[in-house]
């Protein structure tokens, strides 16, 4: 469960309003897609959810815990995949996964089982003992995804997770996202790929110039603009 209550964030001493009075709730078991043009405030919102940025006003809560007041509780049930896989390049893939397992406290049995399973799925079994420095962009993205899945978090927050992934990996990640939410967990992700959002998300939010301009299921969004495809709805709503 994820709740953003009147959240605002500005830069440049208030001159640039990146996120403006954003309120939304993502229920357990829900995949929430967050769309918006470049610079609309998607990454800023995501960074506030995971605690990388502090909101100027408003609150963010994960499973009822305030991200500012109960930061540690929130962090222990949330994982995050950034838009660019800036990770410890000098560690091997396995060392990195072990690091994540150690800080989230994943037990050995589960850790072994999950790591082996996802390495297999994402075709990284051969590379896991090599330094991350030797990985391609897509491989780095995959190892960050595996790391985010490893603690089996209550809430996953992903910033454009499909970027750099090959079609097979994209297919797998979509399946894993659905599986994650079918267990009653929450998933919040941003994307520019309309098809993915349309097919995968239970609900979609569209942000433009820091304001949430639309939010609902695909059917609700269609009613809103009398348009058929999400692409047209998006273009219409953000062309202002």
């Amino acid at each position: 469960m994820l709740e953003l209550d009147h959240v605002s964030k500005s830069y440049n001493k208030g001159k640039v309003k990146a996120v403006d009075d954003l309120t939304l709730t993502v229920a357990p078991g829900e995949i929430f897609g967050f769309l918006g043009p470049n610079g609309a405030g998607k990454t800023t919102t995501i960074k506030m959810i995971v605690g990388l940025l502090r909101p100027d006003t408003g609150t963010v809560a994960v499973n009822g815990f305030d991200t500012q007041k109960d930061a540690l509780k929130c962090k222990s049930i949330t994982t995050y995949v950034p838009d660019y896989p800036a990770i410890y390049e000098r560690l091997t893939g396995l060392e990195y996964l072990n690091f994540i397992g150690d800080v989230y406290g994943v037990l050995k049995k589960e850790r072994l089982e999950r790591i082996e399973n996802w390495l297999e799925i994402f075709d990284l079994t051969q590379a896991v003992s090599s330094p991350i420095q030797s990985y391609s962009h897509g491989m780095k993205q995959k190892i960050v995804l595996i790391a985010a899945l490893l603690p089996s978090p209550q809430v996953m927050v992903l910033d454009e997770p499909m970027v750099g992934l090959d079609p097979r990996a994209s297919h797998h990640i979509k399946g894993l996202m659905r599986e994650h939410c079918d267990q009653g967990k929450t998933l919040f992700f941003s994307t520019h790929i309309m098809e993915v959002a349309e097919k995968l998300c239970d609900r979609i939010g569209i942000i433009n110039k820091g304001k949430l301009v639309a939010c609902g299921t695909m059917d609700e969004l269609r009613k809103l603009n009398a348009e058929q495809s999400l692409e047209h709805i998006f273009l219409d709503l953000t062309d202002k």
Binding site: Y11, N12, K13, V50, G51, L52, L53, R54, Q68, A71, L72, K75, S76, T78, T79, Y80, P82, A86, I87, Y88, R90, L91, L94, E95, N98, F99, I100, G101, D102, V103, Y104, G105, V106, L107, K108, R111, L112, I115, E116, T125, Q126, A127, V128, S129, S130, P131, Q133, S134, Y135
Partner: protein, 558 residues
Amino acid sequence: MKRLFTLIRVALKVNFGLSVLYHRVFRQKKDIWIGLVAVLILISIIPTIYGYLKLVEGIYSALKPVGQEQALLTFALLAGQFLILVFGLYYVVSAFYFSKDLDMLIPLPLKPFEVMLSKFIVILVNEYLTVLPIVAPVLVYFGILGKAGLSYWVNALIIYLLLPVIPLAIVSILVVGMMRVVNLSRKKDALIIVGSLLLIAASIGLQFVFGRSGRSQLDANAMVNFFTSPDSLLKRVGAGFPPSIWATKALAGGFSGPALLNLLIFAGTSLALFYGMLVTAEKLFYRGLVGIGEISGRRKALSQAEMSRLVSSGRRPVKAIFWREWRIMNRTPIFLLNGVLTVILIPILFIVMARSGTGDNAFILKALGSAKSVYVILASACFLLICGCLNGTSSSTFSREGGQFWMSKIIPVTPREQVMAKFLHSYLIALLGVCAGSVLLILVLHLKLAVCAAAIMFGLVGAAGMTALGMIIDLARPLLEWTNPQKAIKQNLNVLFSIFADLGILAVLGFFIRVLTKAGIRGNSILVLVFAVLILLSWLSYWFLLRMAAKRYREIEV
């Protein structure tokens, strides 16, 4: 040419963060305190500069009656060039081969020498700043004391501008050649470290050889030569590096024929080496550079048994973060050279300089062997602290995370635990330095074991405080935006502030000991008091660090 100038301008802007600084100070009205800090730093170094000028004046007055005052210039120029030679190595390896912008520069329609030249100019400007406090006061004061004319000032300016070119060009040619070979191998990181160590060893060896030759010359010719020949001391000092003699003669002679000839030789050598460097760059730079960052992994699946052995269990955040720090530090060549290797190198450098008899260190080490045991313990402890703490490990511990700091912000580990793990790592490196220093104290100075053990006790306690202090300084303003790992440690002001702070603490402790001695307090009581003060300072620093961590981890936004 216009393309080259644009490239150099951009490189300088990026290196000094000029655009970002302008944006933050003048547009966002942030970081205005930087100006205040700069003023404070300038004010704080005034006493040091004053002391240095007094020293220069003293040496000048002592040398002038025997006609040896020019040796002062040679000393300063030689020291500056030697410094450039050693520091330049770090700068060159890092800027030429590990800047992240190289991936963007290589595909551009630029010639290899243009890319390397832009990097070279950035290092050159950095070196002007590095040697400024050592060379400039001597040049200026020498001119003032000797009531020099216009010719002196013109030559001084030319020489100052050319000063870093020879050592930097030599280092660049060596490094570019070395990297060409390194890039052929799979073990690139290891070769970079070994190669850099060999170059450092060569420069130390040079110092050793010249120090020795200088001393034997002094022994052989006794004092006769010292007084009779107008430039004998100068020759002896400059024997290590002839360009400093050419520069001295050019400075001393003004616009006279021999002086201009020396200036011509100095400038000609600089330009020849510079040109040689450009030719080397055009031929070898890209061959050594392209693919240097690519590491080929072994791509072999782990067996079930291996996997089971390597995968750990449960929550152990401090251990996990400690190992992360340890691995990243030791696997990044630039960090390794500045961390573990520096703490081992400092004692070796100290001893080589002492053995070669060129520096004051010989005197210090001799004095250590003859003074009262209380002072030997304190002086040895001071030496051990210098060995263990005058490196950038603790004062760059947050900065080194750079763009990966986001992970420290999101993991479910309290700032307190994270900082404890980082402290353990930095303290371990400091302990390594204390151990290396202790080995040398015992083996080279034949210090009694009991005395050495006491010094180690002081060193261990003091190192804890200095480690915490370094971390506090870095945590106050971590440098997280860097494209070149060099910036996180070697060009990080936090490292410099921390070294100043450590030296300041040692100076204050020295003053404290002096006051105690004057007050008639006996030997062992001094030891007890100093030890108590060290414990208190270390505990306070560590306590403050932990308190500060919770606040700063929340405040730092990435």
